[in-house]
Symmetry: C2
Subunit: 134 residues, 2 copies
Amino acid sequence: MAERKTTLAPLLNVRGGARAVAFYKAAFGAEEIFVLDNEGGVVAHLSIAGAEFWLADESPEHQNPSPDTLSSGAAGGSTVRMILTVDDPDAVFARAVAAGARVLWPVEDQPYRWRVGRVVDPFGHHWEIGKPLR
Amino acid sequence: MAERKTTLAPLLNVRGGARAVAFYKAAFGAEEIFVLDNEGGVVAHLSIAGAEFWLADESPEHQNPSPDTLSSGAAGGSTVRMILTVDDPDAVFARAVAAGARVLWPVEDQPYRWRVGRVVDPFGHHWEIGKPLR
């Protein structure tokens, strides 16, 4: 019998870790589990109403590039999307946009029966904010 | 009072969705919540012992590039790491490597009090497999 519950949390590589912590607090109401800020940069463990994720200052030399670095000169984008499922996607989406996220598409009912919208945050990470429709 | 628990799950953009589903089953014992395979490619919702994630065939034209696409010609890497926390990192790591993941560093006790190792999967996504030390 396993003692520890299996969990999976994304770690976002960013350029500007301290600014990113501030942004995710403003955009998603994220709370700090911990934030380390040392010579290697910021490493943070954050929670959005219990949904945990991490971020760290990029270190491309250790294969941890941010979207800014990896997509420079290319079409852009990130290799992973964050699927944020919430009770009120319209409100969460609006708050993120007010905090500086850029709208890729607005919150709408989709034929696959989700109400969802998508933003890019100032660090190049993509968030789909939605919930399944009944 | 919110009716819906807030959750955050990563969605991995891959080149070869069907192969990726098979790989994550072999490597991590992932189970299907659902797998859709249509003309747009594969979209899958998977669970590793209750830890949920998604994958989809890449569509770079919609800003959903895989690591293969985004890092082509560059140093490589992915913009997000998967932090997989498990009861027995050594066993989970060994299984992933046996299934075809490439070792970036082996499972070892780290000074920040995690026992953790890191692999790259055949689709270019990076997984840190570990647990906090007591």
